[in-house]
């Protein structure tokens, strides 16, 4: 995919995928009865947002870098 709108869509897909992954792991911990306290839940919520953003940006920075660097 070469067009800018296409790349924006692909970036948003990876962002959603990483957020879903992080938040899904959060839900699995809740199913086990862990991390349900309000303070912990708030912290893990922000951690999920942060992970999604960092992972998606890192992936696209890697893809944008010249081949020799990879």
């Amino acid at each position: 995919v070469a067009s800018t709108p296409g790349k924006v869509v692909l970036f948003l897909i990876t962002l959603s995928l990483f957020f879903h992954l992080a938040n899904g792991i959060r839900h699995l911990f809740w199913d086990a009865g862990a991390g349900l306290e309000t303070a912990t839940a708030n912290r893990t919520a922000w951690a999920a947002f942060a992970f999604a953003l960092v992972a998606a940006v890192a992936l696209w920075v890697f893809l944008a870098a010249p081949l020799s660097a990879g």
Binding site: T14, L21, G24, H27, L59, F62, L63, G70
Partner: protein
Amino acid sequence: MSGFRTPLRRARGLGSAKHGVGAFIGQRVSAVALIPLVIWGVAAARTLARGDFVIAGAWLREPLNVTLLSLAALAAFYHMHVGARVIIEDYFHWPATKALLLIGNFLLCAGAAAATVVCLLKVALAPEAF
């Protein structure tokens, strides 16, 4: 007509169907399976995105790669089916709408899963010159 039914007859069948936990467990099992599969898939896509179709075809001809990618697709479409099903069951209360959406959800997910696996196998089993 329903007025002729006894209160007991009307109440019967409205309780738990006693097998609802299957979808709940299936959702969690597919979630656990998808954690390593998605991480592996992203790592693979990272290198494949920089190559052309020939490189991707050669990668997909590795038996381990098609196997894992097919498993990832099947687990993901199953996960998607159960997730959408829970939303439909929770938020659509008119029986006809609910039934139509549940049927459509199943057919869409099953069709997408079948089509994905066929596409993967078509490339994976094609001769080298493909």
